[in-house]
Amino acid sequence: MALAEDERLLAWLAIDLDASLRFAPGMIIVTSERLLAMSADDTQWQAWNYRRGLTLARRDHAGVGTLELCDASSLLGHWRYTLGSDVAAGRLVDHFARQLSFRLTGEIPAVSALALCPNCETPLLAGQEECPVCSKEIHEPPSTWTLLRLGRFARPYRGQLLAGFLLSLLTTAATLVAPYLTMPLMDNVLIPYQNGKAIDPGLVALYLSGLLGSSLVAWVLGWGRTYILALVSERIGADLRTTTYEHLLKLSQEYFGGKRTGDLMARIGSETDRINIFISLHLLDFATDVLMIVMTTAILVSIDPWLAAVTLLPLPIIAWLIHVVRERLRTGFERVDRVWAEVTNVLADTIPGIRVVKAFAQEQREAARFRAANAHNLDVNDRVNKVWSLFSPTVTLLTELGLLIVWAFGIWQIAKDQITVGVLTAFLAYISRFYLRLDSMSRIVSVTQKAAAGAKRIFDILDHVSSVPEPINPVHLPSVSGRIELRSVGFRYGTRSVTRDISIVIEPGEMVGLVGHSGSGKSTLVNLISRFYDVTEGAILIDGVDVRSIPVAEYRKNIGLVLQEPFLFFGTIAENIAYGRPTATRCEIIAAARAAHAHEFILRLPHGYDSLVGERGQALSGGERQRISIARALLIDPPILILDEATSSVDTTTEKEIQKALDNLVRGRTTIAIAHRLSTLRDANRLVVLDRGRIVEAGSHDELMAREGHYYRLYQAQARNVDTEDQLHTLRVDPKDEGDRE
């Protein structure tokens, strides 16, 4: 394909699918003269010169992007690609549109002045060199030697670890004295006695005291070593737990959305404990064993190289056996872990949902589900144990065989007068210890693998970079007026693009209501403004500063959030109200509670503000919990307030109570409110109607009603429902709000 003389290449896109959606390479090119395309179906390039009416549009569905080239009357061509190249496609479309407009009008539309990331077109902020979106996508696996990465946590304890190691060395050396002493004991005392020489008590006393002394020294040193290393490993474990939890808390909402509570709890709880035990017990033993083997080998070789060679012969075989089983066991143990998480997940699913389970009388089914998970657990364990159970006896058998070889070779050498009986005794004493240790060393295989699997699962959390990254050069806002600007904001959740091209400016103190069907993107927008997620396109600015350049915690201090399902932590009511500002005085807490219309019902509780509320605030009704969460938001006095369906989980009577509380809260703040009941938004200065991720209308209630568009239809639909709802309420004898507490 030759380009014309002065034709310039402007943009190109490598596509990876053909028209029938099979993986096949293709290419689309935008030049200064035309659009060129060749997909795997074509044998030669297709070309379209710029002309009036041409449009190139980009759509995506289920992970596949489509580019469509149309003129005014028909579809000219369409191409498919996987979303990995979506950014390049966007750039292509952009270049095409600009070049087309240049051809038609002779003017080139201005390129946006924002600095963009060359890979993903995210606007880069001032002082940001690396794109936060690209750098968060790490697609390299963590290294296989995950356990070595624990070194980062061991570094602060270098001194103690070194002391522990030296003590290990000395302990091992001390334990090796005893078998050495059997040699002279045999050759200088026992054998001469059998040959008719009397026993020298002084010599016996000397040897025996040597045996006792070495044991005592080994005992003291061993105690010191174990104590020091246990202390250190406990601290490493604690550090690991804390670090993991702290990191976990910093991760974005997105991460928690994809994980199950039971699994995360298991990781931070039992996995760190397993690593801890591994370091304090197994690793220590293993290190001692290795030292012992090295020292024993040295001693054996120094006594008799030939016998030593024969004695050590089975060692490589055992090492090889260990290596073979290691691989099988490791996968097995990883699977055991995952199955275990599955079992806890069933619990984590069912226990919070116990009301639903009981209401639908599904206890049997849940029991069956648990039984199934347990059976799976058993099954996997059985399979691992099959290999594992064979392992230890085999090692024992090899040990016995090794001893047999030493016996045979030793007797032969004694017969040839090459060694003494004492030497053989010493050898046997050494290697019976030696092989004993090999047996226990073989256990290191399984525990190392278990610990490595645990470490991997922990580093999975630690390696996860928050998708809401902290800025590298943070901008600090001393005071926030509350002006929020959304600049063509888009957000994609997985393949689904949830919101697209949303632009609004919210002035300080203004109250904006977000209206739309469920799934229209209201909550997403609020999550974006709260920075639970970061936008995938466009930018959100507060007082003219991109929110991504403000430290996350500092930014969120400016936002008060009232959710549909208020979450109360275990603690007193006062603590719950002061959650966002633990330093608040009692007076401030009471003032906030009063403003939230919560003061009176709190006083009616048996312990007033000191009443404990349960894990989910079970002792309080929905309306009461909501008012506590409003008080919580009031106390931090945020310039920006977000109400996400704050009143939709309660009945209309309670809603009025809450509404009064909200009126106090909203005053003088930039407020963004989502409400299903449009009546709740009567005070809003402006309503923004969203539909399928786009803004379709905006204006005051009256304007929108007059327009008879989307909002009008929503309002009409609700007006009909409200009528029936009101009828229902008149039938209800007592409102749920106050009734069911005492």
Partner: protein, 157 residues
């Protein structure tokens, strides 16, 4: 064979499906959507307008007259993208994120698995694997894969 449906379907010059209802209203850009894309792909297909409203319901594709059926089938084929993994050629590592080289019914491809939790267990023995770009790869029967693929897969299950 059932009665012909009360609506008309055709494809317009922009390649979009057009559905004409009984009231004569023409809906452009109609999309067929399977209700159970994995467990019962042939049963229950809705024709949905661009605003997401259901225009017609097809119990079974074979109920439709041939010309409509072909229109719906080609439109489905144009939209549906769920490559079925036939073989796992290699995986870059057993720790996630891991890049897999796979052979699918739509040719060979690379996928990046972000975490084990992206492998979703469907009704046994089927698995659904979501890659980092959100493309879903289907394994219809994991026991029917060859031994090497099964071994790779087992490490992630």
């Amino acid at each position: 064979m059932m009665d012909p449906p009360p609506y008309r379907l055709c494809r317009n010059a922009f390649g979009r499906l057009e559905c004409t209802g009984t009231d004569g209203e023409v809906h452009e850009g109609v999309v067929p959507v399977r209700a159970f894309p994995i467990t019962a792909p042939e049963h229950g297909i809705a024709l949905v307008d661009p605003h997401g409203r259901e225009l017609a319901w097809i119990d079974q594709l074979s109920d439709l007259p041939d010309d409509f059926r072909i229109l719906v089938e080609t439109e489905l084929a144009r939209r549906e993208f769920m490559p079925e993994i036939r073989r796992i050629v290699s995986v870059s590592s057993f720790a996630t994120p891991s890049t897999w080289e796979v052979q699918t019914d739509r040719g060979s491809a690379h996928l990046i698995l972000k975490g084990e939790e992206d492998i979703r267990r469907l009704t046994a023995p089927a698995l659904l694997i979501a890659d980092s770009h959100g493309i879903h790869y289907l394994i219809r029967d994991r026991h029917a894969l060859d031994q090497q693929s099964r071994r790779f897969l087992d490490r992630f299950l």
